[in-house]
């Protein structure tokens, strides 16, 4: 209990405005399409922060929660994008001090010979202090078939720091759902230390279309109405094909469409206006092999 006088009542709405959380959540809603479970979880974390602050005013104990997370989901569902956003959000919410993101994979943590792993992992952890450590494809850290694999050493150091330096850094593990499940089964220590298991759902066709338009707007392109129709037809067809990677497939498709658009503009050899430079036409999309194979 603190000696500060405890107020009788606290206005939560006022507290919410002062915390600056509102704009952060709003920005998240605006910039990320879909991902309802993710947004829900972030909202819950934000609410906890707010309630903790109020609890502190009443002199109640408000211990920092465990924020280590695991992101699971199919390729291209926005795990990495959200992780980079997450560091910023947690910083604004006041859970991490600096709000930088250190993104690593197995190569950055695990050494190549005995005694190489520990300093390497510790070096990364030192860099991540005060921010978010994002371990992409975390299941590669553990190789079941080789019990002398150095990954195990790295895992032990990680677990220790995740426990002892909970208020110094947040660890986010990411990977495909089935492999992560296996990883957690063979490393029960990880499962219990990771408080938030967030599953990233596949995007709906409509959401992918919206994402595509968002990507193009950022690059100063736009779709003609016919092109939009073509893309709307393209998405379910692409989904039916192997190696569909959600938003990543869409980005690749758009990159190829931009190539074709550039080629078309170049082939015309006429004077060109701004409108033609920024517009992607239906033919740029309909030339895709996805359409060719269905015919």
């Amino acid at each position: 209990m603190t000696d500060a006088p405890t107020p009788a009542k606290v206005n939560l709405a006022e507290e919410f405005d002062r915390s600056g959380v509102g704009p952060v959540l709003q920005q998240l809603d605006d910039e990320l399409i879909g991902l309802a479970p993710v947004k829900q979880r972030i909202r819950e974390i934000a609410a906890l922060l707010l309630v903790d602050r109020v609890r502190q005013k009443f002199g109640l104990i408000a211990e920092a929660p465990t924020l280590h997370m695991s992101f699971t989901g199919n390729p291209g569902t926005g795990k990495t994008t959200v992780a980079s956003r997450m560091s910023e959000i947690l910083h604004k919410l006041g859970y991490v001090r600096r709000g930088h993101l250190v993104s690593v994979t197995r190569d950055d943590l695990v050494g190549q010979y005995i005694g190489h792993t520990a300093p390497k992992t510790k070096e990364i952890l030192k860099k991540a202090m005060g921010g978010v450590l994002f371990i992409d494809e975390a299941y590669y850290l553990y190789k079941a078939e080789n019990e002398r694999d150095y990954g195990q050493e790295s895992i032990e150091i990680l677990l220790q720091v995740m426990e002892n330096n909970r208020d110094d850094l947040v660890v986010i593990l990411a990977g495909y759902a089935d492999k992560m499940e296996k990883f957690f089964q063979s490393n029960p220590g990880f499962r219990s230390r990771v408080a938030h298991h967030i599953d990233f759902p596949d995007y709906q066709d409509g959401e992918l279309l919206a994402i595509a338009e968002g990507m193009l707007t950022k690059l100063h392109y736009k779709l003609s109405p016919a092109a939009k129709q073509a893309l709307a037809e393209y998405i379910p067809m692409r989904r039916g094909q192997p190696h569909f990677a959600n938003a990543r497939s869409i980005r690749n498709a758009l990159d190829r469409a931009r190539l074709r658009q550039a080629n078309r503009c170049f082939a015309a050899k006429d004077e060109i206006d701004l409108e033609a430079l920024v517009t992607i036409e239906a033919e740029d999309i309909r030339q895709s092999r996805v359409f060719a194979s269905s015919r």
């Binding site: 001090r97 600096r98 930088h100 952890l125 030192k126 860099k127 202090m129 005060g130 921010g131 110094d168």
Partner: protein
């Protein structure tokens, strides 16, 4: 005798919280923070052993404090100092350096007088601890 050198030498030793704030200031200025230790307290001894490499591209001071606590575990009976190097062109030197750990008991220095040519008197200082070999000076 309490050996002092570097910044804040006129102050009592900094606490870990105070060190944290100083280190954070260094990191925000993009200086590389470095830890060194020695058991030879003479002020002219500039060659201290390095504790690992200077810590580049850290964002948060906590990482330095973790290293410092590890260094104290191993060399808690020696002098440890923390310095920060500014690599800006035309500066390229230490911007800050202060002692963050000292032996529990510091024996101090003795004054040695040497008779020179024509009965000229020369002086030098020598730490009592240097009478013992390296590694056993503050055991």
């Amino acid at each position: 005798m309490r050996v002092t050198q570097g910044c804040f030498s006129f102050l009592p030793d900094l606490t870990d919280d105070q060190i944290l704030v100083q280190v954070q200031y260094c990191l925000e200025n993009n200086w590389a923070v470095n830890l060194e230790y020695t058991d030879d307290p003479h002020p002219r001894n500039t060659y201290w052993e390095m504790w690992g490499l200077p810590m580049f591209d850290l964002k948060d001071a906590k990482g330095v404090l973790i290293e410092l606590s590890k260094c104290r575990e191993l060399h808690g009976d020696k002098y440890i100092r923390l310095s920060a190097f500014d690599n800006t062109h035309t500066i390229e030197s230490l911007r800050i350096s202060f002692i963050v750990n000292r032996p529990a008991h510091e024996e101090g220095f003795r004054l040695e007088r040497v008779e020179g040519r024509s009965r000229e008197q020369r002086y030098s200082t020598r730490a009592y601890s240097l009478d013992r070999p390296e590694g056993k000076r503050y055991a």
